[in-house]
Symmetry: C2
Subunit: 238 residues, 2 copies
């Protein structure tokens, strides 16, 4: 279905724009995403509800496609220079049975970090991203943007390390003195890798659960950005 909408006061556009707010995302269980590349991945994941685009797109016919003005795209996009494709996706938990490789995120609050970490976890074939309470919402538009479509493919849910600890080794990234160097770590078959909050690192409650404490050897500065540290760890442990 293809329709043309020119007014940014159109009801469909108003509905779409409302999804910029967490409140309405929660009510409708839908969220906004953008770019052609992400749309491709979202179509594969069967979560696309409606597409708003500057130019006709060759996508399955059952997905409503609205040709819109630049003004409308600017209203819906969260980028300064929008690519010209914005779409509504539905929230859908991706099921995973018996995940072997789990990434646990404790209170990651920066949306750019959250999206980048999800993208990296997908790239290193992690089976599940497990979120503590107080992480930023994964449907925040900056998370969606920086995940580069990984959000549509990666199983992600809230949960506790304790639910998996019986048969998974817990690997905590921490600068504690008794941490071993990353070079010495060999990935167990089943494990949970833990990354901590941007300012405070991993809490002492979670550190206590560690079977292996690991650190990246750095100089001159206290710490790495958590997405960078996560990338270095996941590249070795996966």
């Amino acid at each position: 279905m293809i329709k043309v909408i020119t007014s940014k006061d159109n009801q469909r556009i108003k509905f779409a724009a409302s999804l910029k707010e967490n409140k309405y995302r929660k009510i409708h269980k839908m969220y906004l995403a953008e770019t052609k590349k992400s749309l491709e991945m979202a179509i594969s994941a069967q979560v696309v509800k409606e597409v708003f685009t500057l130019e006709y797109l060759d996508i399955p016919e059952d997905i409503p496609q609205y040709l819109v003005s630049e003004e409308v795209i600017k209203k819906l996009s969260s980028n300064v220079n929008p690519e010209g494709v914005v779409f509504i996706a539905e929230m859908k938990e991706i099921e995973v049975n018996n995940p072997n490789k789990i990434l646990y995120l404790e209170e990651i609050t920066d949306p750019g970090n959250m999206g980048t970490i999800i993208r990296t976890a997908l790239a290193f074939s992690y089976d599940l991203v497990l979120l503590s309470d107080n992480c930023v919402s994964i449907y925040n538009e900056k998370v969606i943007n920086s995940s580069k479509g990984a959000i549509f493919m990666m199983p992600i849910k809230k949960g506790k390390i304790q639910d998996y600890q019986k048969d998974h080794k817990v690997i905590v990234s921490t600068l504690a003195k008794d941490s071993i160097s990353l070079e010495e770590v060999k990935a167990p078959e089943k494990f949970i890798l833990v990354l901590g909050n941007e300012s405070r690192g991993v809490s002492s409650e979670i550190s206590k659960l560690a079977d292996i404490k690991v650190k990246i050897l750095i100089n001159n500065i206290d710490s790495l950005n958590v997405s960078v540290a996560g990338g270095i760890l996941m590249n070795k442990i996966h």
Copy 2:
């Protein structure tokens, strides 16, 4: 020297606020930075001109220190939740002779990436960050913030790979088919590691200069974020 300023229309505050614009940063060769941790590093680097703070700070007496209101800090800060310390730093190129380990950045445009990459280069003891034309300004406040103080310690300048190619191996990160896996790379004594633009990667002109082409083995998704890729590469090659 300690003074109290309560009005955000004070001349010192107006001058400081003007440094939020690139134009005035260039004219005055100064820029804004914030947080106590960064201030510490900037003091070591001897680049601090003036400090604006909510509470008295124990810093060298020759640095002018202004006790200001929250309103003033909000005006000067680029963070949503400012920590309460903003300062003016002077642009000063950090000299380096015969750098062995050089990171070359080709058209990195996202300020968050730029700052994070500089932080990572410092953490892995790189000697120099070399910038192509069209990189984002390193004095952009988001670059300064995400560098977490690394900006005050890391030698950074604009330049060309060709200036170093005589005795440095050029290592290019690219997904080209003839790239070898990162695991196979051994860091040469003198090298230039190249990271490319966020969307386009490394240009063909620069790729041609490569002595070694390297890729990180990933699945499910086309690419990693450039800061994450940079971190993984620098962790192995340094």
